[in-house]
Symmetry: C2
């Protein structure tokens, strides 16, 4: 079943210990789409400037991603410049230019209307909410956010959280959103804000899902379902962690959307596919690895993650 994703399509200049890339294709919606496209149909809503040309368009087309919702306007695309020189786990932002993104008004093509899955990538919660309300009939809504919105746009963000089935954020964001440094307590506080499921991404350590009243929760539990953790394996080749979290979300949500039923077992596999896609994203600069990836490689890494984290 098709996913509609709204978020940024951007250019990134990135420096890591492995080298530097100038103005490569980036943005949360880009990483999410490429990753999810290995599992299901993906439709993008975003805005780009005149610097987004055929070469960038071709990256989406090569993965059969529907780009009719990418609006082209005068000006330059969103631009981000950052580095990971001291710490591969945390980007240092040197420059952010919103450009055409500053006046972004998401427009949903009629052809996207039958999407059953909606992903609200990390953008202004006011826009996330607008898209959510324009697509009231979707089967499942997941979303992401970041420290900036948590700190300075809290009321708008809280409105978005009320309408989410799944929120995917990292450890720091979870603790910041809850104002609590214990992950379990923070997760419970975030679930009380609305999402039925919270997926906390731990980078190279995998991810943990916390459940309130959710069909994804393991069966036969007490009043509060136990969490589920999908481990990942450490990578030798961390070239560029940009987009790993969005690629996780794409693998996770793409796999779910490809399943006939949203069972706890499907949810667990989706968490593993999220880790798998996040790990691939780190292996080359920008979207390079996702562009060159095959479904077979994904299956092989899934088997590896499964085998090498399982007891039996």
């Amino acid at each position: 079943m098709a996913i509609t994703v709204v978020g940024s399509v951007a250019f990134d200049s990135i420096e890591t210990p492995a080298g530097r890339r100038e103005r490569c294709l980036g943005g949360a919606a880009t990483y999410f789409s490429l990753s999810a496209s290995f599992f299901t149909d993906v439709r993008v809503i975003a805005v780009v400037g005149e610097d987004f040309g055929r070469r960038q368009e071709a990256v989406f087309q090569a993965r059969d991603i529907d780009t009719r919702g990418i609006e082209h306007t005068a000006g330059k695309s969103f631009f981000w410049e950052g580095s990971y020189l001291e710490n591969l786990n945390e980007a240092k932002t040197h420059n952010t230019e919103l450009n055409v993104f500053a006046a972004f008004e998401p427009k949903i093509p009629a052809a996207y209307g039958d999407s059953e899955y909606l992903f609200l990538a990390n953008i202004d919660p006011v826009l996330q909410r607008r898209v959510r309300e324009a697509m009231p009939d979707v089967k499942l809504v997941a979303g992401d956010t970041m420290n900036y919105w948590i700190k300075d746009h809290r009321p708008a963000l809280l409105e978005v959280l009320k309408g989410l089935d799944v929120l995917l954020i990292n450890d720091t964001e979870t603790k910041m959103l809850a104002g609590n440094n214990n992950l379990v307590q923070a997760a419970r506080a975030v679930l009380a804000m609305g999402p039925r499921t919270l997926v906390v991404k731990h980078g190279e350590y995998g991810a943990t899902a916390f459940f309130s009243n959710s069909s994804f929760a393991p069966k036969g539990e007490g009043a509060e379902p136990h969490p589920f953790r999908a481990p990942a394996l450490p990578l030798e080749e961390v070239v560029d962690p940009t987009g790993a979290g969005d690629s996780f979300a794409g693998g996770f949500f793409g796999y779910l959307a490809s399943q006939p039923e949203l069972t706890p077992a499907a949810f667990r596999r989706a968490m593993f596919y999220g880790s798998v896609m996040g790990s691939f994203a780190c292996e080359r600069f920008g979207t390079e690895r996702l562009q060159q990836l095959s479904r077979q490689e994904i299956g092989e890494r899934f088997s590896l993650f499964r085998e090498l984290t399982h007891l039996d």
Copy 2:
């Protein structure tokens, strides 16, 4: 089969967000012994001062731990004072008094001579090596170390590493020992120093084992065996993380020593038992939780960790 452990038996004053305890029983050998005692016979080699009395001795006796190798001398026992107020994952040391530990000369009781397992807890590598050489016939030797020995006593530490079957250290220590910030590359460098297996402890994220030429490695692999990761679950109740790493080592090594054969499957279960024991240690101050623990509770948490991190 019996384990002999050499290390510190000490008093700790600890402050965490949950409160403060003055001079509670601590030390790496104490946590290790209590934890391992749920799986097999344990014999301790250490030194204590006149402040170590019947009340402390009773903690070991309640778990049937052999304390004939704990030497009693004039003076005060090793004392450590630390806090975890800003970060529960990292202790801030306020005071360390070596006291009787400064002149520690490990003496191995004749009755310990048939121990088949040896654990070298975190002490001066010169002493670790001396004990290792005095027990040449053990079946398996594991050890721990810390940043202080890695930085300032490297040549002595490298001699110890040559004789280890399993080294258990954390992420930071692994990267520091190897001088490499990528965990996979750092692990390979550490394995080249001698240990056949390296277990890297990740705190609440579990632990990862890396293998060189080891009988523990998964079968049917290529030239370099894949790592194995045992996840843990995040805890709501982190009262005091002191001793969690030593309790992990005790659960891991205690379980191995209780097994008839050292197979890859036994090794994987041992990693899970390590995570289980580390998680219990954090639930109360000092050794309180390990003192009140039952084998049944251990089994239940093992099942929980297994169930809630497994795909199928």
